[in-house]
């Protein structure tokens, strides 16, 4: 089945003339100039690069053809078979795997794959409209798009480029991320969105070069955002607006904070405001009722993210199943310990977790990357231990601190831990 909705739908795409730049090849085009493709909906389009996915996105925007975009690095035989059994034709370059179970296409439907806690890919239904969470007139920006194609964060940047006038995209594949700063300088990137891990890696690897990227907007999301990374970014880009966003495939972009501080004001809890997500905390878990949620997710959604209130701010500390460490009956938030470590001036990144230990069951331990990248800096472990002792209860102080040479990261730009 092919899909066609006629040319009138082009009117709904105000960003048609926005520039699309492929950082790898340097090629520049616009949405309107992308090669036309016909999608055999429902279709799963497998792409080797982020830029290669744009023609399918544009075709969906014009015709409403049911579409799922997935990076080739994520595709395996199981997922391919699951998609075909769910009615998708799988298009991988010239190769076509027909659906094994035929069904009618759903007009306007977009699917995202989310890993969830099990690591098994599940589909969350969206539409261009539910993925487009930025509205109103925006200042012209040239956005870095560093995300893996088909992820929620990728769609956020792509729909911004498609639906808002003056929002150009510079597409960098996750595999090429180490070179994004050079692309940022060359193509004049003025806005960039990435995870805190992405920003820490960037600040650590590029030093003063990063300040040559003319950023006016710096956005963080996808992981807990602590004050230290916000402060480092403010120091690097004093004239940029620095924002953090809480967003997920399930609840969409639900929290946006522009005041340069970690967490969000406690006054935002239990507040009803038209068009905005309602935020609540239930048993230490963030619960969101969102106007941008995925299909089938109605009402309050338990996010699985742990929160705590401190100094009038609601801080998101991490995933509930990974955040709480029980040390001999005393509960420790890994996120809070991480935040303390990352506030040390010599620390670029930290990962905190529980390790099985005699007597107390589990102990707090940490992997740390220093800003210098050193792994044998004399005295630093003792210094970090003292830093934590001054700021945390005794059972929250990491008893083993391992120094790593580089920040581990995976394709989602989140830390690889």
């Amino acid at each position: 089945m092919t899909h066609s909705r006629g040319s009138s739908s082009n009117d709904r795409l105000p960003g048609q003339s926005n520039a699309l730049i492929d950082a790898r090849s340097g090629a520049s085009t616009t949405w309107a100039a992308l090669p036309g493709v016909t999608l055999p909906a429902p279709v799963a389009v497998v792409v080797g690069s982020s830029f290669d996915a744009l023609a399918a996105v544009h075709a969906h925007a014009r015709t409403g053809a049911e579409l799922l975009v997935v990076a080739r690095t994520r595709m395996d035989e199981n997922l391919r078979n699951e998609l075909r059994a769910a009615g998708f034709t799988v298009l991988d370059g010239e190769h076509v795997d027909p659906a094994t179970d035929d069904r009618a296409a759903e007009d306007g439907r977009l699917w995202l794959l989310t890993s969830g806690s099990t690591g098994r890919a599940t589909r969350v239904g969206h539409t261009l409209s539910s993925l487009t969470t930025v509205s109103g007139r925006l200042p012209p920006r040239r956005w870095l798009c560093p995300y893996s194609p088909g992820t929620y964060a990728w769609w956020q940047v792509v729909t911004l480029g498609l639906s808002s006038i003056g929002q150009d995209l510079v597409i960098v594949d996750p595999a090429d991320l180490d070179s994004w700063v050079a692309a940022g300088i060359e193509h004049g990137i003025t806005a960039a969105s990435g995870t805190p891990t992405f920003w820490r890696r960037t600040l650590m690897s590029h030093g003063d070069d990063i300040t040559r990227v003319p950023l006016k907007q710096v956005t963080l999301g996808g992981e807990p955002v602590d004050q230290a990374v916000l402060d480092h970014l403010h120091a690097a880009f004093p004239s940029a607006r620095i924002s953090w966003i809480y967003a997920s495939s399930e609840v969409g972009a639900s929290i946006v904070v522009h005041d340069g501080r970690a967490g969000f004001p406690v006054e935002w809890l239990e507040r009803d405001s038209p068009g905005r997500a309602r935020l609540a905390v239930v048993d230490g878990e963030l619960v969101i009722t969102s106007p941008h949620h995925g299909s089938g997710l109605v009402g309050a959604v338990r996010t699985g993210d742990a929160v705590m209130v401190e100094d009038g701010r609601v801080l998101i500390t991490g995933r509930i199943d990974a955040d709480e460490i029980n040390v001999g009956g005393a509960k420790v938030s890994a996120g809070m310990v991480r935040s303390v470590l990352q506030s040390h001036p010599d620390v670029a990144w930290a990962h905190v977790h529980g390790r099985k230990a005699p007597v107390v069951g589990r102990m707090v331990v940490a992997d740390v990357v220093l800003t210098s990248g050193e792994t044998a800096a004399p005295g630093i472990v003792a210094e970090l231990t003292r830093w934590c002792q001054d700021r945390l209860p005794e059972y929250g102080v990491p008893r083993r601190i391992r120094l790593l040479a580089a920040i581990p990261a995976k394709e989602t730009l989140k830390s690889d831990v």
């Binding site: 230990a357 005699p358 007597v359 107390v360 102990m363 331990v365 005794e394 059972y395 008893r399 083993r400």
Partner: protein, 83 residues
Amino acid sequence: MSVVPREQIRLLMGEVLAAQGKELPDDDSVDLRDIGFRSLDFSELALRIEDEIGEELNFDAAGLRQVQSVGDVLDLLTELQGQ
């Protein structure tokens, strides 16, 4: 499997205490309560030994026993490495 000898365990125990601003006396008969060596410190010491030998210590093998003095700690952790 490599083994951390008793004397080296003593050095590690001294490091654990030093990180807490405490000192390890030379006398093995000193009571752990008198030097402020508590369960968190014992656990940390066990992890340090595990990191040295590259294996997890099997505390189930130790059974129930009283660990009251510096010498008790050193004896227990020496024995467990062989189990």
